[in-house]
């Protein structure tokens, strides 16, 4: 009859097509928008601002991840990708973290740190040319600006 038992872990196993394994954030691409943290059902992905250090931390805790792949679906810059990696066992919970730290940008008007520099640049890139100058002004200040300036962004 032969042997049915797999040789794993001495031989690697193939994972099926479309297998959702370990999510990985590409730190070079991530802009820190927090869309993934918004979509993550178990909040394995969290985004927090550290105003003292002037950074935004995107944290991924694999120990809570349910591998649903929503982060991959919502990421606007395709930074989060689910790999086929499944050998995630770790002897301590600290090994299950991935942290991406990005610099915060300040509002030009009130000086509040409200976005990352990368996100502001990405927003500016996507805005129509005449509205790009609003990318570095926080929503609250933008609200208070005169309608003329918001509509035409001419100064």
């Amino acid at each position: 009859m032969g042997v049915v038992t797999e040789r794993y872990p001495y031989e690697p196993v193939e994972v099926p097509e479309g297998f959702r394994g370990k999510p990985v954030i590409d730190p070079e691409r991530c802009v820190g928008c927090g869309a993934c943290a918004n979509a993550c059902p178990p909040n394995a992905l969290t985004v927090e601002d550290d105003l003292e250090a002037g950074v935004r931390r995107v944290k991924l805790f694999l120990g809570r991840c349910i591998f649903c792949g929503r982060c991959q679906d919502v990421c606007p810059v395709e930074a989060v990708k689910l790999t086929k990696e499944f050998e995630l066992s770790a002897m301590s919970a600290e090994d299950l973290y991935q942290v991406v730290e990005l610099r915060l940008a300040k509002c030009l008007v009130c000086g509040r740190a409200f976005t990352t520099v990368r996100l502001a640049l990405e927003t500016a890139r996507r805005l129509p040319e005449d509205q790009r100058r609003l990318a570095l002004i926080c929503p609250e200040c933008r609200e208070r600006m005169s309608s003329h300036l918001i509509s035409y962004a001419r100064w």
Binding site: P9, R64, L88, S89, A93, L108, R132
Partner: protein, 184 residues
């Protein structure tokens, strides 16, 4: 890293399976592990019926409040030294119910509770994330614990050293507008 249970258990590792209120997904994967196709009895890992016979606890589920006293009893019944195999997202970090009032929320919080209420130091634990983890992932966890293979997963920390430069045309707001918005 580098820690495993080779020194604790040089021979077979007998496992007692505790489901602490999980959805049964991990339990079914765990049963696969002991079936002929994956067959962890190759490594001397065997499922036993009583915690008093066991060396390790295979814990699945987020430890619901109802299950908590039973899990504590199972922990007390397994003789020291023991190891814990936390299987699945629920056992590792609480999973999708991590902030629910009805669950303790994974072994991390459970160990805090053990330390507070019973003064027990947490045993050696291997975390096997996955929802549910593949049977091979569980085997990998057991092999990491037994020192057969090396741990692959490591924490990574990326810091943006210098923010990208902001082009000049994005900077600068008319000063009269700044004054008006600030209300000065």
């Amino acid at each position: 890293m580098g820690r495993n249970c080779v020194k604790l258990f040089r021979r077979s590792l007998w496992v007692f399976h505790v489901n602490s209120g999980g959805c049964n997904g991990c339990d079914i994967e765990l049963l696969n592990v002991f079936a002929p196709y994956q067959d962890t009895e190759r490594f001397g890992v065997k499922l036993v019926g009583s915690p008093r016979h066991a060396d390790a606890i295979a814990l699945t589920g987020p430890i619901t409040r109802e299950a908590l006293p039973r899990v504590v009893r199972a922990f007390q019944a397994v003789p020291d030294p023991k190891v814990v195999i936390a299987i699945g997202s629920c056992a590792c970090g609480g999973g999708i119910w991590y902030d629910s009032h009805a669950v303790v929320g994974g072994v991390g919080k459970f160990y805090e509770l053990l330390r507070e209420r019973y003064g027990v130091e947490p045993p050696l634990t291997v975390y096997v994330p996955g929802c549910p983890p593949k049977p091979e992932a569980i085997i990998h966890g057991i092999c990491v614990l037994r020192g057969v293979v090396k741990q692959k997963q490591v924490a990574s920390y990326y810091t943006e050293e210098k923010a990208p430069e902001i082009p000049k045309e994005l900077l600068g707001v008319p000063s009269f507008e700044v004054r008006r918005v600030r209300g000065v």
